[in-house]
Amino acid sequence: MEKKIKNQKFEASSRSHSEGPLWMREKTIWRQKQRNLPLGEKVALLGQTILETLELEKIKRHAKGL
């Protein structure tokens, strides 16, 4: 099982080397999608990002005992 996972990782890594880093390709696709979003959805997504950032900060503060 472990070997299979390792092989899968290796294959994914080989693919990413042949077509550019995976994260960069994903980021580009994401950006293209984002650009094509209707304006209302884009604005909603920005709002969601702010709320998620605030939530994350709250969790971090809680973890630090603040």
């Binding site: 950006r31 984002q34 650009r35 604005v43 909603a44 920005l46 990002t49 702010i50 950032t53 994350l56």
Partner: protein, 172 residues
């Protein structure tokens, strides 16, 4: 966020702010991908009362209080659950950025957002580590207009600063 945009438009219609535009990470995220940010920066023109030399945000807070928003969240005022920070556009660059902001409409709503070129120029003047990252991000956007950016830099004496940054950030 849509509701926040509506409130900002209400402030404009009521004459509490002369003009405004969203800046900072929210605006940068608007042009590309959403960036982690904890508030919405709103740069605005404020009407200075006659005989006064001080620019005050008080009229904004008064109007917002009338609209039911009076809770502060650190530097921002909470509007529909989102901290909104109002900043008086003070430098020539900020004033120009507000005047030249993109004004976009959808389903009866309006958003006014600074363009990537002005956001990058402002980031150059603020110059915190996160502003360096923002400049790289904005400069690499597909729609970033380099000639427009160059013109803004020239107008505001930022060309040399940009050349140094571009060299160190490998953006030449």
């Amino acid at each position: 966020m849509q509701k926040v945009c509506d409130v900002l438009e209400q402030l404009l219609t009521a004459g509490v702010v002369g003009k405004y535009a969203i800046g900072g990470a929210t605006a940068a995220g608007f042009h590309g991908e959403p960036l982690a940010t904890r508030d919405i920066d709103v740069f605005c023109f404020l009407n200075v009362p006659e005989g006064s030399f001080l620019v005050s945000l008080e009229p904004i807070f008064k109007k917002l209080s009338e609209l039911g928003f009076s809770e502060f969240d650190e530097e921002g005022i909470n509007i529909h659950g989102m901290p909104v920070q109002f900043l008086a556009a003070s430098s020539e660059l900020e004033i120009q950025a507000v005047n030249n902001a993109d004004v976009l409409h959808w389903d009866g709503h309006t958003i006014r957002v600074m363009t990537p070129e002005y956001l990058a120029a402002i980031a150059l003047t603020v110059a915190r580590p996160k502003d360096r990252a923002r400049v790289v991000y904005l400069y690499e956007l597909q729609d970033f207009q380099v000639p427009k950016f160059t013109e803004i830099l020239k107008q505001h004496g930022l060309t040399e600063t940009w050349l140094n940054w571009a060299k160190s950030l490998d953006l030449e």
